[in-house]
């Protein structure tokens, strides 16, 4: 077989799920030492295609060739054995294992049937250092934050030393610092001849990394462009088939203080004490490095974790009881970071998930008309790609799941809307819609508080930014002084003039 045969080649891949044709006759080629970015709207079929390549799904039709050789993958283990590693879009870790065990799961260093624990700890530390995760390899995975888990997953894929490395939105909950390190690692792998598929909705990353950009639309190829020519506009038109108009960001005038936080301390940073206020009509962002305690803070506000101390007032009334139900009743709601565990009831339908937080307001009995309405409205407004309101949320694509998370909270009509990584995995088109919607709500007097690891998002959405460092508010930046530099300086503990 010729050695110049592509590393990986698929032709005419089709895959249907009940109610959806996820992929129809897709072709895709990957060469050695090449980074191919795969872009497409939410639900275009990117993850499905990658799962086919990694042996998770069996295609209905089509052919897969590895180095020119036709192969049929019998499962994830088979794909791994052939050198294809996939970093899943959703976290998939066994959280009862230690970090070292998780890194080596499925490929343990062994001596006969026995584990070589020491060697694995050593190896894990080294490989995790590459991606910038400095944790004790004997620590349990359960104690890591989502961002750290994502780094762990990347580290694990590196350890596999695969010929083909597929990364499905690897940076969706990473901050710029970790993302930058990942890019360096990627460059190194490319030099070593590994073929890399990179999926992301952060188009800036895509143009930074990709040798080639391949578009997918409605489960079909929508063309490709060389990496050099991958401008924002061209990529968007590859994804959606038209260009999006850049809307002008409206400015609002803040009103009364609706959220007042006094002396709140969290379990992760018991010595740090947080005070701030949010006014109605204000959109406030919280920035910080990975593990700086952003999610912890939001969860404490919402009462999901018990705050160690402090007082929270919503609309001038202190929260008396503790817990999400009380917070929601007072008008403060949280769209959590981990959509699989906290954001959605994966086994229920889109419709039921959308109405879950608000249904009780319509009486003791279920108001079906309200549910139908809400569902139709949310699907239309947020562009949720679904076979219908009855589809099980767990079978939606990642980005579409995130839209459902947002949809149910937007419908809640709260006083304070708290969002943790609101657009994780959401495509550019929908993102613009969501921003517009948030501004519209803010204009109508809603207070929005959000955490985002994506600086671009913080910059474009926030009226004011609080920067966290080790659980403390390191500084506050009004819109006029917002820039990547100022945020990063505060986040890393430097003073800004």
């Amino acid at each position: 077989m010729a050695s110049d045969a592509p590393l990986l080649e698929v032709a005419g891949i089709s895959k249907a799920f009940p109610g959806v044709q996820a992929l129809s006759s897709v072709d895709f080629v990957l060469h050695r030492g090449e980074v191919v970015a795969l872009i497409g709207e939410n639900g275009a079929g990117k993850s499905t295609l990658m799962k086919v390549l990694a042996g998770v799904h069996r295609p209905d039709a089509g052919l897969l060739r590895l180095l020119g050789q036709a192969v049929e993958l019998r499962g994830p283990a088979d794909a791994l054995a052939r050198g294809i590693a996939l970093i899943h879009q959703e976290l998939s870790l066994c959280d009862n294992l230690t970090v070292a065990a998780a890194v080596y799961l499925g490929a343990e260093l062994r001596k006969g049937p026995f584990l070589r624990e020491r060697a694995m700890q050593h190896g894990a530390r080294a490989v995790l250092a590459q991606v910038g995760l400095h944790v004790d390899p004997r620590q349990l995975v359960a104690t890591l934050s989502p961002g750290q888990k994502q780094l762990l997953e990347i580290g694990r894929a590196l350890r596999a030393e695969a010929r083909v490395l597929i990364m499905d939105e690897p940076t969706s909950s990473l901050t710029q610092v970790e993302a930058e390190r990942l890019f360096e690692v990627t460059d190194e792998l490319r030099r070593r001849g590994v073929g890399i598929v990179y999926i992301s909705h952060r188009l800036g990353e895509v143009s930074r990394l990709a040798d080639r950009v391949v578009g997918l639309r409605d489960g079909r190829n929508s063309g490709e462009i060389p990496g050099r020519e991958a401008t924002h506009e061209r990529m968007v038109s590859l994804m959606v088939g038209r260009t999006l108009s850049q809307e002008q960001r409206p400015s609002h005038s803040p009103g009364e203080v609706v959220l007042r936080v006094r002396g709140v301390r969290t379990a992760a940073f018991p010595e740090a004490c947080v005070d701030f206020e949010v006014r109605s009509g204000e959109v406030v962002g919280i920035a910080g490095l990975l593990g700086s305690g952003r999610s912890e803070l939001l969860r404490a506000l919402f009462g999901a974790d018990r705050a160690l101390a402090g007082q929270i007032e919503v609309g001038g009334v202190p929260l008396q009881r503790h817990g999400p139900a009380a917070a929601a009743a007072a008008g403060l709601v949280l769209a959590p970071e981990d959509r699989k565990l906290q954001g959605l009831v994966l086994g229920m339908s889109v419709r039921d998930n959308l109405s879950l937080p608000t249904l009780h307001r319509r009486g003791r009995f279920i108001d079906r008309a309200y549910e139908r309405d809400l569902c139709a409205r949310s699907i239309a407004e947020l562009g949720i790609r679904t076979a219908g309101g009855g589809q099980v949320v767990g079978s939606l694509s990642g980005g579409n799941q995130q839209k459902v998370v947002l949809g149910k909270w937007l419908a809640a009509n709260p006083k304070v809307l708290v969002l943790d990584e609101p657009t994780r995995g959401v495509d550019v088109g929908a993102r613009a819609e969501i921003y517009a919607r948030l501004h519209e709500l803010a204009g109508a007097g809603l207070a929005v508080l959000f955490v985002s690891s994506e600086l671009e998002e913080v910059l474009s959405l926030a009226d004011r930014v609080l920067v966290l460092n080790h659980g403390r508010i390191a500084g506050e930046l009004p819109r006029a002084r917002l820039s990547e530099e100022t945020i990063m300086m505060l986040a890393t503990g430097m003073e800004v003039a």
């Binding site: 917070a327 009831v345 994966l346 003791r364 279920i366 149910k408």
Partner: protein
Amino acid sequence: MKKILGIAALLVVIALTTTWLSWDASSQSYTFLSGYNLQNLLQRIGMFGVLSIAAAFVIVTGGIDLSIGSVVCVAGCMLPWLLRDHGVPPLIAMPLVLLLCAAIGLWHGLLIVGLGLQPFVVTLCGLLLYRGVMRAFTGDQTMGLGGTADELRWLATGRIPITESFGLPAPLLVLALVAVVTSIFWTRTVAGRHLFALGRNEEAARFAGVATGRLTVLAYVLCSLLAGLGGCLFVLDVNSAQASSFGNFYELYAIAGAVLGGVALRGGEGMVLGVVLGACLMQLLQNTINLVADSNQLEFAVVGAVILAGAAVDEGVRRFFRRRR
């Protein structure tokens, strides 16, 4: 609906087979179809159906209640104790017993929600504990009603005449009432929706502002309450309860009925109609064996095999539909 197709089909097949096998040449009739037999069968379905709905209430929250049989025992011993030994009027005694059972459920719920113990552990201890306490309480004596509650016994043994030889057994009406109310609760109320949501993903439900703790406790209370109701019906039916054996193993029958009827043990899934069908199947099988077999030695084996077959058929039906969709 698809979930209960398998079990419904199985039920029909077994009923037809039983009918066919129950031909009695001497009376030229199918004994299975005699009014007397149908009455008895429906009565048992009524009583065991209540227990299966009880079990289903906690299974949909993703929990389990292994203490159902022992709560049946508590109700079965306490009701005669109040009626016979203390002359409490029936209309006070039964609510008292139900209250006691509800309190047991409350205690389960608080241990599970408040202390964070596992439902399996809490109710396994309950299984041992309540029966043990009842043994000591009754001094191992059989508790009989001693003719003190003949009107109340109507609840268990009464028949509402339909034809000359057939009357609807009162427990079936009790079951119908419980089933309809439960069904409305599950499918039409917000609390029911919340119950199912928390059964699938407790944390997500909590983040959506659902008072998951309170609802979970409610589910355990209702479960024990219904188990207690079942226990009252049983003792009213047989007129005597022996603490060491009364209601023994009934939790397994109850759970089997619920699971056969499509209630998923991982929580958040189930229909009342399915549960009732599941309970029907369990009782029908025992009736079948008594009517046609030479001895009932194989009874357990047959019940076990049929539940297994039911589960397999069910899974098959589900896969079939998944593929066809």
